[in-house]
Symmetry: C2
Subunit: 415 residues, 2 copies
């Protein structure tokens, strides 16, 4: 398969007269399923869409994020199911770099695909869907299907959560190495959903950057510190099974092989942070800023020595350091799979300061025993709290992967 066929260029060739013959081939290639950790696909930079698990969870984090939450506007269960079918087919196509299925070449109709990703490669696109607690109200007969783990996230001390950018019936995470590809995916799903769903909130983010030239080097967040050093990696299948994928013990069989996503928009008071001394910044995080090594250690991936003390008897890693409070060693082996993306949303009119920070996404088996107790502890004691504010919160039950063509997201929930 030549290079050209990796791009969307072939699908709307010439001056708008070519058909979608090429797209069929690409869609067929996407049917290759992924068991466990997604592998590099034969389509160059495409990530397999179909599989046991949804892509975009254990997939190594792409560079860019476009996240959107939707509210369902129809009260028809059939319309909702139809939309999920349509969305699934569209996501499968976009994931291999094809256009949204349908006619994009008829002159006397709106093109099925909006077109801004027409010349672009798949760019590692993943589209990951989750259902919010509000979807399980009385509208669609799903009340009895709500998993106990899909509990509302409680209020934590210091939270300044804005309801209008929180929660939602359906959450969609699009990740890609190209921001235009990620945005194109969200935009086209929003468009396909018009009349059935409405956008509730959205968030763009950027992360691992292309210019490190070092592949999987740990990205720095906007505090200037490496973030994600101790994260679960896509190839750590045993850790994924233990902490991320929903197993046989779930109260709702439709969530088996799914995962729960908690999203938090974490605004950083970066102006205050920037005035802080380097020593204090390092004590707040518990790591050296330059190397990323834990305080007292030498390499980024050294295990933090939480018992080490200085000559004056104080711990080398302070008792309220973020890395200590968040560590699995200090939390009974509690772990989360994080996909954090930096955001910058212009200037906060209230303060005149940059509205920037981290859009935190954590995948887990059960937020009630993972995110919630961990965040309760952090909200109480983390030295970082002086410099951050959580302004948005959501939790979504992400169903298992779509097995193959013709299946759809959440099929088992509606059957």
């Amino acid at each position: 398969m030549g290079k050209l066929s990796l791009s969307r260029r072939g699908f709307l060739g010439g001056v708008g007269l070519a058909g979608f013959g090429a797209a069929a081939g690409a869609a067929a290639a996407a049917a290759a399923t992924s068991e466990g950790t997604p592998r590099p696909s034969p389509l160059g930079d495409a990530v397999p869409f179909y599989g046991r698990y949804q892509a975009g969870i254990a997939t190594p984090a792409q560079d860019r994020l476009a996240f959107a939450a939707f509210d369902v506007k129809t009260t028809s269960r059939a319309e909702l199911v139809d939309l999920l079918r349509t969305w699934t087919a569209a996501a499968a196509a976009m994931t291999v770099g094809a256009a949204v299925p349908g006619d994009s070449t008829s002159l006397d109709a709106p093109p099925a695909d909006t077109g801004e990703a027409m010349d672009l490669r798949p760019a590692g696109l993943t589209v990951t869907v989750g259902f919010g607690a509000s979807l399980f109200d009385s509208r669609f007969g799903l009340a009895g299907k709500r998993p106990a783990a899909l509990a509302d996230i409680p209020h934590f001390p210091g939270d300044l959560i804005r309801p209008e950018i929180s929660n939602g019936d359906i959450g969609v995470q699009a990740c890609s190495n190209d921001p235009q590809v990620a945005f194109h995916a969200i935009r086209n799903l929003a468009r396909l959903g018009r009349g059935t769903v409405a956008l509730r909130w959205s968030q763009l983010g950027f992360g691992r950057t292309s210019s490190t030239g070092e592949g999987q080097a740990t990205v720095r967040n906007l505090m200037g510190f490496k973030d994600g050093t101790r994260n679960i990696r896509g190839e750590e299948r045993e850790l994924l099974d233990r902490h991320v994928w929903v197993g046989g013990g779930t109260d709702q069989a439709w969530m088996r092989d799914g995962s729960y996503a908690v999203t938090r928009r974490i605004r950083m008071q970066i102006e205050a942070w920037d005035r802080d001394f380097l020593a204090d910044q390092q004590d707040v995080i518990g790591r050296y800023k330059a190397s990323g090594a834990p305080l007292g250690g030498h390499g980024e991936f050294d295990t933090p020595d939480f018992a080490a003390t200085r000559a004056d008897g104080e711990p080398v890693i302070p008792v309220d350091a973020h890395v200590r409070l968040a560590s699995h060693e200090q939390n009974g082996d509690l772990r989360l799979l994080r996909r954090g993306y930096s955001f910058t949303d212009g200037i906060d009119p209230a303060s005149g300061q940059l509205d920037a920070g981290l859009f935190f996404i954590a995948y887990q088996q059960d937020p009630r025993r993972q995110f919630v107790p961990l965040q309760r502890k952090l909200a109480q004691s983390d030295a970082l709290n002086e410099y951050i504010t959580h302004t948005s919160s959501a939790v979504f039950a992400c169903p298992p992967g779509v097995p193959g063509k013709g299946d759809f997201w959440g099929q088992a929930l509606f059957s």
Copy 2:
């Protein structure tokens, strides 16, 4: 010079103990001046900072934009000059991938550099500065130095300009192939300016994407059309001299070899656009969506045939098509150097629709005879007006390039 020295990693090595020795070498390399069009620098993906013209104007557009406008808060001319000196030195350093000058390793002080670009390459960073009309009021004794070409941009039919995200005393355009590098530049300039200037507004954008795999392929805007096909290119020196660089005829000698930047945040009603038929979309733009060829033509770079008529006698390219109204053939050879970036700023709470569009930057010799008459014509007649709204407007007088180390932006204005 090895690969590692291209990144900022060397500048804050080890566990925070290494000095800035490496930075000195990098800064020296940046002193290589650029006459005319910036050339690829010996520092890999660094664009030369010093030169006759400011970089970031004729430089081929990088992938990402961070733009900020500042208002000056001091009334001291000396403080303003000091800041421009400091900013110039910081930009020169960041442009070669070095940290902001100063001490970033002392434990008992805030680091001079915020650190989030520490491991990243220069990534083509350019920082371009311009002065708004308001800087030439009575505060700094500059009233007599205001160029006539720095006239206020008038109101055009259909404009919905929000003053709080328009104009400003100083505009700073940071472009890079890495969003974190672009943001890092703006953030560190804002930080260095604290107390002297305050952020007024900012805008992020993305453009030419990394995944086309085709180098200088024309980027598509969020309408799905190729945008910039007929733009002036960095190597077209004769066109730059004629339309972009301020020449000897200027009323203010300090602007010689400078340029005027007009910025317009153009919101697209993309939901309405997405419902439009392909034939109508193509008639509105005057090009085929897929190929980018002008209507009636075959290749993207074909010269539009504005005289061609269909069998029914109507012009092939409609009289109100954007490409016709904006063409230099139909405007007495009027041209602009455009650097447009797509933006997506979440959801407009008023409409529930995506707040997305094009952040348009145009460089030119004199907005009074370039942008203003062109926009007056477009605002009256352009078929595109049905789908766009201008929500921010600014004009900045961008001084010539900084000749060498020790010089600063706008030096001739203040001497």
